[in-house]
Symmetry: C2
Subunit: 167 residues, 2 copies
């Protein structure tokens, strides 16, 4: 079986638009609140979890690091809600995604590397790989949907796809 390689790109708002939002202060204009003590960067993520009587819930994920090269074997999506990951350890992490589609569009899988301060909010039904830490175990705040109904679809890749070490 031929092995395909996934090229990583830096996470930017523009490149990530088809998949969701980059949660970051960079490029955003804050407003001053709290008598000048606080700069508020408002509405950085659209928490879209209301379908079928869903509500927002908050988890912490503690994810062990992977080592590169890493084989992508399975991807998933959540048909009923958005899902946000915000790093609590200021470490870069990987975001592997593909556009909304009934079956996983292998040729459209993209890999992003965060800058350590960025979080992401995946749109409803965007294909993604599970949480991938690099170098050390990291904690992430996760904001997602809680509620009735099946909200996880998983698919195993039919071709071999490898994330290579950074060049």
């Amino acid at each position: 079986m031929k092995t395909h390689c996934l090229k990583l790109q830096p996470l930017t708002k523009e490149a990530f638009t088809p998949f969701g939002e980059v949660i970051q202060t960079q490029g955003r204009r804050p407003v001053e609140i709290n008598y000048g003590q606080t700069r508020k960067y408002a509405d950085l993520a659209r928490i879209d979890v209301g379908d079928e009587e869903g509500a927002a819930t908050v988890h912490i994920y503690r994810s062990r690091p992977i080592t590169l090269p890493f084989r992508i074997e399975v991807m998933e999506y959540h048909p009923l809600g958005s899902q946000a990951f915000i790093p609590l350890s200021r470490q870069p992490f990987l975001v592997i995604v593909a556009p909304v589609a009934e079956t996983l569009p292998f040729e459209s899988i993209q890999g992003f590397l965060t800058n350590g301060k960025q979080g992401v909010n995946l749109n409803q039904a965007v294909w993604h790989h599970y949480q991938l830490s690099l170098e050390k175990t990291c904690d992430y705040l996760v904001i997602e949907r809680s509620g009735p109904g099946g909200n996880a679809i998983e698919q195993r890749l039919k071709k071999s796809l490898l994330i290579e070490e950074f060049s």
Copy 2:
């Protein structure tokens, strides 16, 4: 005017129960997900924002530090939704709260110091002081209600209340 002093206490789940939830992994049992790569500490905060067609939104607050002693002059509450603060800088911060009441119950104001890893989720309508960082400017992820209706009540203290330096 006589000056009252607010004694700070370490933030614990038990002591904070009347006001909301402590967002932390400590004392929680995780479940393994993502093929054993991730420990999930589930449902750490009840995001209670649905009243009057509200939805959850996410901000980042960048808060300048205060210096102690610090005079508490004003407190506020949000009648329509919970409000969560999760530190992105792993620095302790102050949480000044008072129980739900129509007018601020001065005698019941309590001050908590986090351990640097803890966040808090304030219940709907709990009186609180605005975000208070210590030592350096820190970022916080804020999860709160967005939607129609007035959701901020503020009250100026009629007595003098001071947070003293740590002894």
